[in-house]
Symmetry: C2
Subunit: 104 residues, 2 copies
């Protein structure tokens, strides 16, 4: 197990696994996120992304899009696609901001 | 920017972007990891994975496999594939350990 002295990236990988297991273990099968567990995860762990989102169907559509094998659950690989997609979106915003600063 | 009071997952996404930018900014083009930057990242940030790795060609082969567009650099999307791959490997080991515990 990574300790506080471990490099940040190792702690981050461990933290992604731990948070997935925490929410996946709330109900039903322990190793996947049900719709309820996914909503709980999104509204707690990604609150900055969801707090301005007034339309609940957005999260429904996200769950459907992430659930690539359409079993109504998100496994860890599908969950990582969510994290990767959000990280890419944040990184792209950063690159756009840098590029627009350079133009001014 | 996420603060210490932000949920762990948001801090983790921010940390992945920050660590990529830190190593990508060491030499040459600031928004990709060169081979030297990749090795520096691996040996510092993923030291637990690399410290028992005596064969340097393993990291060379990893870089080639991750560099899907073969430009000799890793962009953020290719970097995320590395993080996702390691997280999947750790999670799979966990599932195997749980399953073997259940059998005993």
């Amino acid at each position: 197990m990574a300790c506080a002295c471990s490099p940040k990236t190792e702690r981050c990988i461990e933290s992604l696994i731990a948070v997935f297991q925490k929410y996946a273990g709330k109900d039903g099968y322990n190793y996947t996120l049900s719709k309820t567990e996914f909503l709980s995860f999104m509204n707690t762990e990604l609150a900055t992304f969801t707090k301005y989102q007034k339309d609940p169907s957005v999260l429904d559509r996200m769950m459907k899009k992430l659930d690539t094998n359409s079993d109504g659950q998100l496994d860890f690989s599908e969950f990582l696609n969510l994290i990767g997609g959000l990280a890419m979106a944040c990184h792209d915003s950063f690159l756009k901001a840098v590029s627009s600063q350079k133009r001014t």
